[in-house]
Symmetry: C2
């Protein structure tokens, strides 16, 4: 009887491949490089090879598989077609059909990587036990995923959960975002954003701050200084948490989730960060949405593998 | 064979009851008063009486009914329980079970009225032909509904689509909302909001404006004056459309709908309003969400009846 599945997190640099039991236990994982040459044409065959080798290694066959789930770094349609993944070199094709064919008919389900990570956190991570969750990923940029009734909300063209591009800052203070617009949440609430905002604060004022000694200012430096009471660092953190708390209040007014899960590198600041976001959330949130819980993501870089497995085991 | 259904829109003043064919054609409708006395205990029996009378009138029986859908002015759980409707005098009970029992076992489905109206507009109104829509209702307040894959997103406690309470204005300019918070979208984008903002503009400036002659300033007066080029009226309209366009860009980054349907009394300003909202939307929207269409709601006060019927016919 088929009792296992693979969860594949296909990234721009590496592919993470996890072997899961049908109960969602990760029993084996490996990483292979993402070969982007020749328009990414080796990527799927590399994945197949790794899967088959793992099966041999485990004395299993393809018949032991319920299926293979895969998260893709780009928009994907409901029928499993990728609409071009610039950073893989891929054009437009149905990745579910193609990978399934290459694996001799094993069931394949694909999803957008950020949404799949949100599903992973819902299934086995910080959102475990809930079915309506919003994942907010604070990394180099700001991403996210919306899960309702335990299912990913992909959006009409795969762009739901693009939380980083909620307009958050207007007026003179708004910085240009990577997407070309001004004042997106990402410009203030990402690791990159808080570093830039802190540099602006340092340049504008002459206030004493332990951050002035740092050569290469990082997001971690800023949070560490803020935790020790550095006023300028606290000001920078306040800008981030204000924008996030207010934006999350808006998201809650739209989707009314049970839990907000905060992940990504910035979330390593932990409860200190969570409490400050929640404070601003409570200031701006509609009363009927206020009983939402705030939690930290727990799966880290494995969320994508877990979510990909969840696509299949659902 | 059962080929008909009733769609019931239960409001605080009147109950609208529509008889629909299974294809969604409204063939008969009536209104009865909402009797709120005795903790609203007559409301459901009045509805049953009206339904049974209509069936006799049409030479039909309860066996001809696929079911009865009903929109309720308050939060409702997934299993059909109302959690208290202050303006009906209702406490907590399962309205689906109770109404079904009173109708001798006819299937009953209930939903929140704003969400049900959004479903109606999706099914037979301004969102027809789409399955991922956001309805924005600009009336005395600002309401809304989120439909994804043709289904209502109710939210974990019935508060999804509370678009009017997205934080939209910060700082000194933010007015207190009916919900108790400051700067909600509703404070600037409702009929009440634009009248207040216009009065503020009139008081602050000495600019000439045709609106100064009005004794009782209305939302319609303001839009009429703006259409004729009145600068002060245009400024007021600009404040409304800026807040709406920016907030809708945020909603689109979260849910990525195919179409935004604008309804409610303010939407009588028509294409003039729509174009201005769309202009600000395009300024703030993430590129992958920009191909969304803007449409006007078409069902007016019947949207609730249509949506209630859709709950059953789905």
């Amino acid at each position: 009887m088929a009792e296992y599945c693979f969860g594949v997190d296909l990234g721009g640099t590496t592919v993470k491949i996890g072997l899961f039991t049908s109960e969602g236990k990760l029993i084996d994982s490996q990483e292979i490089p993402t070969r982007k040459e020749d328009e990414g044409s080796h990527i799927l065959s590399d994945i197949c090879e790794a899967i088959d080798a793992k099966l041999v290694d485990r004395k299993m066959t393809r018949d032991d598989l319920i299926g293979v789930g895969i998260g893709i770094p780009g928009p994907i349609t409901k029928d499993g077609s990728v609409l071009g993944c610039v950073n893989l070199g891929w054009g437009i094709f149905n990745v579910e059909e193609k990978l399934s064919q290459m694996l001799g008919g094993v069931k394949v389900k694909a999803g957008n990587d950020a949404n799949v990570a949100a599903l992973g956190e819902t299934w086995q991570g910080g959102g475990r036990g809930f079915e309506d969750i919003v994942l907010v990923t604070l990394g180099t940029g700001v991403g996210g995923g919306i899960i309702i009734g335990g299912k990913i909300i992909p959006g009409s063209n795969g762009a739901a959960g693009e939380i980083g591009h909620i307009p958050a800052v207007v007026g003179r203070d708004a910085e240009v975002c990577g997407c070309g617009k001004k004042g997106c949440l990402e410009t203030v609430a990402s690791a990159t954003g808080i570093v830039r905002e802190t540099k602006k604060l340092l340049a504008k004022s002459e206030d004493d701050s332990s951050l002035r000694k740092k050569k290469e200012l990082t997001c971690k430096d800023i949070f560490d200084a803020a935790k020790e009471g550095d006023k300028l660092a606290l000001k920078a953190v306040d800008k981030l948490t204000f924008a996030l708390g207010k934006s999350i209040a808006g998201i809650a007014a739209v989707t009314n989730p049970q839990v907000i899960v905060i992940g990504g590198g910035v979330s390593k600041a932990g409860k200190f960060l969570l409490d400050k976001i929640e404070e601003y959330f409570n200031e701006y949130a509609f009363h009927a949405t206020k009983n939402v819980k705030f939690a930290l993501a727990t799966l880290g870089n494995d969320a994508g593998m877990y979510g990909a497995a969840a696509l299949i085991l659902d």
